[in-house]
């Protein structure tokens, strides 16, 4: 019982960290149809911005917030400078994926040129561990869980109950009809990129606090987990990304607790494949696969 409860607690921490990033990834994908593999680099970039602030005396949470806003700006800029141009020139979806990979590599290597091939750590105390119903969680972890819960709720309410949210969802399935309804598509697309960059920023600081050290490629290294959670839940679905993150988090921690820690990834990805076998579109997705990119 004790082992199970603590594995669940740890799984929730992992899920919280993954969920913020996964929702950012999936939200932007659902609105713009760009499967953005440079997302990990945006995470790393914002992680380092937060690091610069943090080491010059700003608290880690304030650094996270400012880093997240910068992430939003970076993300909008990438779309404005690079992705949007390709989309307007009618690039294929696959071609667009390659463009995002190339952009990610350029970003990672540029970051590496500045920070070098070494490791960095935030100046932040994990705080005392609290025992909550058998789950041992530090103050820092509790704050991350709360931030993730707030972000997820805000995203859900934003998408489901605001005009902007409806416009985003509408845009995601039928851009030309949304335009005909008066939705300023360029602006809504920019908002989606901004939101995704903000979540990349929050997600990255949470992730880098969790791994305790990070380097120029750490964001990209974890992108596969972020995507796994998003795909598991159904790409394009924010609720799906949260559930996907929980499945990945719990699967890995329970594997490590009860079975063989070497097989963490194996179990997570076997679950992913089994889910996709039963529901190829993921657990929650309603999107068809024939949409075109919007810039």
């Amino acid at each position: 019982m004790g082992v199970l409860m603590s594995a669940i607690g740890f799984g929730i921490v992992t899920a919280s960290i993954l969920a913020v990033s996964s929702v950012g990834f999936t939200l932007q994908f659902s609105v713009t149809n760009v499967f953005n593999l440079s997302f990990g680099s945006v995470m790393t970039g914002t992680g380092f911005i937060a690091y610069a602030l943090n080491t010059s005396g700003v608290s880690i949470w304030a650094s996270m917030a400012i880093g997240a806003l910068c992430g939003g700006v970076i993300s909008v800029a990438l779309n404005w400078l690079i992705f949007g141009r390709f989309i307007r020139h009618g690039i294929s979806r696959f071609g667009m994926v390659i463009v995002t990979i190339a952009t990610g590599l350029i970003c990672d290597n540029t970051i590496q040129a500045f920070v070098g091939p070494t490791f960095y750590a935030y100046n932040a105390q994990p705080g005392k561990a609290f025992n909550l119903a058998g789950m041992l969680l530090t103050g820092q972890e509790l704050i991350i869980i709360v931030i993730a819960a707030v972000m997820m709720t805000a995203t859900h309410v934003g998408l489901k109950s605001t005009r902007l949210g409806a416009a985003m969802r509408g845009l995601s399935v039928n851009a030309s009809l949304a335009r005909a309804c008066g939705v300023p598509t360029r602006r809504v697309v920019a908002v989606a990129w901004f939101a995704s960059g903000v979540m990349a920023g929050i997600g990255s600081v949470a992730l880098f606090l969790d791994t305790s050290t990070f380097a120029a490629t750490t964001g990209s290294q974890f992108l596969i987990m972020v995507i796994a959670a998003a795909v598991l839940g159904g790409v394009g679905s924010a609720e799906g990304a949260v559930v996907g993150a929980l499945v990945v988090g719990l699967a890995t921690e329970i594997t490590a607790a009860y079975w063989n820690p070497e097989l963490k990834d194996v179990v997570a990805f076997v679950v992913l494949i089994l889910v996709l076998l039963v529901r190829p579109q993921g657990m929650f997705s309603q999107l068809s696969s024939e949409r075109t990119a919007v810039g």
Binding site: F10, V13, T14, F119, S212, T252, A257, P261, L263
Partner: protein, 399 residues
Amino acid sequence: MAHSGSGSLVVAIFHAYSGPNAAFGPEAAAGCFPAEKLINAAGGVLGHKIVCDPTDSKGDPADAVPAANRLIASTSSLVGVLGGGSDTATAVVPLFAQANIPVFSTTGQASFDHSTSPYFWRILSPDPAQGGAMAAAAKKLGLTRVATVFGNDSSAQGSAPAAIAGVTKLHLHLVTNQTIAIGQLSYRSEVQKLASAKPQVIISEADPQTSATYLSELRQLGTIPDLITDPVSQEPGWRKAVIGAIGASNLNARDYAVVAYAPLTTLAYRTYTAALKTIGKQVSQPMQWNSDLYSVADYDSVVVMALAMDMAHSTSPKVYNTFIPKVTNPSAGAVVVHTYAAGKVALAKGKRIQYVGAAGAIIFDRWHNAGQGFAIERYKNGNWAVSSVLSSAEIKAAF
């Protein structure tokens, strides 16, 4: 690249100069060029100059194999090779052996422990010896409740089995034995299991990020037990990552690094470092390698090649190869020498010699493996310092 001027003998530095292992090349060059300098200063070998020739293996077999073939075909005066690191040795050692060229490899792979290739030579200890030495260190430090935590990558797995077997062999209590998937977002469940097993010491090797994540999560559960690590923990990147995770004082108080050991105070070693200082043209910042055991072993390798040629009165690789153990292994009436110059003089007088090099005595077994001693090092006042030496009996007990 191959400047095989008439009469000179080429020793290839066949290592990665690019790619993830790009440090291997300069590391070996820091051994070769000082040897080249000292040998030529002593008049060369049988009237020929030694020339070190860097060749980039790129650290992966797909590039290394054609590079090795090209090297063999185009360099008629090739007399020896430093190289084939862990990344490429399996692929290239047979190629050089087939061409009858002696290869002094720095690979740690256990697959070469019982190598039957007559042209393969290894001065440094293989990875399993490292694992056994880590177990022996736990015993020596009086730490009986031992946990092992190794990453599931090939580097860590090289020493893990011997470490685990060694703990049992030495009648220590193995409280838990973890192989962890490297590069994970969290190790909380693994860490909790480890903490509940209450080890006094963790024997461990993993990459910087994995170690940092693991140890930081371990610290969140309370205190960190002692750590027995290997040369990985002496890499600046590993230290930086782990210090970021648990703080320098925590790390320095806990970490016992078990590393291959050569007493770096001997005449041979001083001769080497004096020459190393002067090769700034061939190797940038040469002194960064001055206590690197791989560089030291490569230095000894070239000296051994030259002495074997002198003794064989031949620069033919096929001929001098069989003389290699005759200049290193102890034998009745042999004069112990510490430099090429001294060895050359003694051989000229018709004496038998035993070269005891910068890395210490080199005693090849029948599989051409020599193997070094190990020491426990601790980080103090900005430096690694030997805190105790593991005797060969202590290490043998772990096997």
